[in-house]
Assembly symmetry: C2
Homo-oligomer: 441 residues x 2
């Protein structure tokens, strides 16, 4: 395959997410290069401490304590900003844009406060700002709102966008513990910061809501304009009463367009227990959108964490890299329709159905006589199918009754053979019914 | 704002979806032109019957019975193919690509069978194929797999991708009716074709699975290679037993990468009742993906229908139009980071929190004395807050007890005023707790 010169990446900050990005770049290096048609290359990392890590390709020579020097380097194409916080992140991004670099950032606190400045600077410089990782971690909500839903008018956005709060509320609801204990659980599991105030008080969700509002409704909103309440006041009693009334309590980031006036608020909210958002548990995030033409849609996934967030950062890097490569060749950036060059595409090697392994639900219609269940079970056993549970209902000597079983994992070939043998031995009055179970999905 | 020459669209087929596309183009004309920086213009429609419809901008002069002539017209930029079926759709798309047009299609039957031909022809011609509408209707699963998840390796895909089957299975499960009656319900509600075989037998889901496999695993798969079973054999008894065993029955399109061998199958499947996929009801679709770095994510929405599908078609049109405009100006297609030009962005007009209207959960800690509930209720009433339900538990003359209420829709300003009055009148022993309810989301 024709290979272009590499796309060179500068990384600001190598905390948890930065390390995840480097890990993923290294782990999937060939796949990424194939999809892009050029390698991604780490050109430098700005970090206070020079702590090389060869396992992720980080040599001492790559590390600099001077981020301003890194964003000025003429050999770097894309700057990934993972410092967090307002400064120096804001100034560095503006410098990078002015120096002709594209930027990728996960910094919702800074972007929500300075959206106008950053995005306008990018537009004036003709450069890109990727910020998929800033809301919903690995959930592609930024490109969904800016691209997929571009032809529709959005009515409302309801987001579970803070995994820490959702974990705490889920724990309080499922284990009947108080807020304080649930917070300790979250901290023990690494799902809450040592200082969890920004999460617990709803401010992190408010930052994300500002970006969602700008994408959904096309206007700028500052975090201070969002009515923000946290979850520390939610009691066990309220959760129990909510359940009685048919609701679950979630910290929602809510935005609605009320005839040009934007309603934007973050607070503990009761949602109907049968609504899909009520089933978004643990540290998961979900953004539920109502559009005029599309109706309801929801986007669900891990909203934080090293590797999920790294996938979002690298998705932005890949998209921008493709645009830069096209511009180098003087072409417009035609996206490959499948996300990778087709020249070398192969036909699938298909696994035969007989080799598929899963659990099975089995229903046999059999005469209600002693020994029938045993005879069926022994045929199954001879074919390496073991039974996880049996339901045999009622007794009725006059007619056939259903024998229902759930199998452990078995191979389709063995199941087919066993069912044929059971029919042949006339243990059943009709063809056995079976339905495959996907247990671990 | 600077306006470019229009992007000119040719439409093949004006059935339900085609009409939806024209409707949306007209309804959101200004919004689309603003986002794009140029108007979208309907240049012609190929249809057997010349039936003008001024309400969607369709004059007799725009309609031609000759689709081959339409795809050859030099003034057209983008061809939208909504004929469905293998021919003449396939030949027309290839002709359009050869004539330098970009194409957008919702035709999963043809694309899944001829993916190699169509996508390679597009790549060779340097043109785009948009096919977001072919899988999951308005759910942006195509661009999610090809762009958002580009840096990750996918492990498995589990999709509810046929709304007709999901509606039937949901109806069977919720109303304890048999397959035949549920099918009649679906047909009555317009959710199943008069000839529903392609849906019911799982072939439509298999077509979609082929496209998902190509996007997720980078290989070509033909519908004939997918093990495909439909839902007509699912009985009411199986659904009931499934429930007893802790499962729901869904028609799933399943694909896994087993060390380079692709497992691809469509069949009725039992999924754990607490799994998010089990809650995808009615005509909704959802695609659940497991990735190595991202973990689980799910994309949920209406998988069919006129307007949801039209949003996906127009999202592709907008993206391609942007690339064409950039190429005209000799620039690379830099996407606007927010999906629209920023020059004219405004600050949000924010609705004051006091004006927000919602339902409220209210908890008062009050002395367990006669008259207290009445006094609280009358203060609420005077402030235009009406009570939907009350939970008052136990009796305990010694201490305060919780009085829990759910209000009807009320204005935040009124609620705050009422709660202040209740405190001032010392009807409660501590500040009333309230949680907002989002009932209609």
């Amino acid at each position: 395959m024709h290979r272009s010169e590499p796309i060179r990446i500068g990384l600001l900050g190598r905390g948890k997410i930065g390390t995840g990005v480097l890990k993923l770049m290294r782990q999937n290096r060939d796949m990424l290069a194939n999809k892009l048609g050029a390698p991604l290359e780490l050109a430098g990392v700005a970090d206070k401490i020079v702590a090389p890590d060869p396992s992720i390709g980080l040599t001492a020579a790559l590390i600099t304590p001077d981020p301003a020097a890194l964003v000025a380097r003429p050999d770097i194409d894309i700057i990934i900003e993972l410092f967090g916080g307002h400064e120096p992140a804001r100034t560095l991004l503006l410098k990078a844009l002015a120096a002709g670099k594209d930027v990728v950032s996960a910094n919702k606190a800074m972007l929500s406060e300075h959206a106008g400045t950053i995005f306008l600077a990018a537009e004036r410089a003709g450069r890109a700002v990727g910020f998929e990782a800033s809301v919903g971690g690995g959930i592609p909500i930024i490109r969904t709102l800016s691209q997929a839903l571009v032809a529709d008018r959005q009515r409302s956005v309801h987001g579970i966008v803070n995994g820490t709060c959702n974990f705490i509320l889920t724990t309080m609801s499922e284990h009947a513990v108080d807020f304080g204990d649930a917070l300790k659980d979250a901290q023990r599991d690494g799902l809450a910061e040592a200082n969890p105030i920004l999460d617990i008080d709803g401010h992190d969700a408010a930052h994300k809501l500002c970006l969602l509002v700008t994408l959904a409704f096309g206007v700028l909103l500052k975090p201070a304009q969002v009515h923000t309440e946290g979850i520390s006041g939610v009691t066990q009693a309220d959760i129990a009463y909510a359940r009685d009334l048919g609701y679950a309590i979630k910290l929602l980031a809510i935005a609605k367009d009320d005839d040009g006036r934007i309603e934007a608020r973050v607070h503990p909210t009761m949602v109907p227990r049968r609504h899909l958002l009520a089933f978004v548990g643990g540290a998961f995030n979900a953004i539920y959108i109502n559009g005029e033409a599309l109706g309801s849609s929801m986007y669900y996934g891990l909203g934080a964490g090293q590797m999920p967030t790294a996938t979002a950062v690298l998705a932005d890097v890949m998209e921008i890299a493709r645009e830069r490569l096209a511009a180098r060749d003087g072409k417009s950036a035609r996206r490959h329709p499948l996300g990778f060059p087709l020249r070398s595409i192969k036909n699938a090697r298909v696994k035969p159905m007989d080799d598929v392994v899963c659990e099975y639900y089995l229903r046999f219609m059999a005469a209600d006589k002693p020994g029938v269940l045993g005879a069926i079970a022994s045929v199954l056993g001879r074919n390496a199918i073991s039974i996880a549970s049996v339901i045999q209902q009622g007794r009725d000597a006059e007619r056939t009754v259903p024998i229902v079983m759930r199998s452990h994992q078995a191979r389709e070939r063995n199941l087919k053979r066993a069912l044929a043998a059971i029919r042949q031995r006339r243990l059943v009055s009709e063809a056995p019914a079976f339905i495959r179970i996907e247990e671990n999905l």
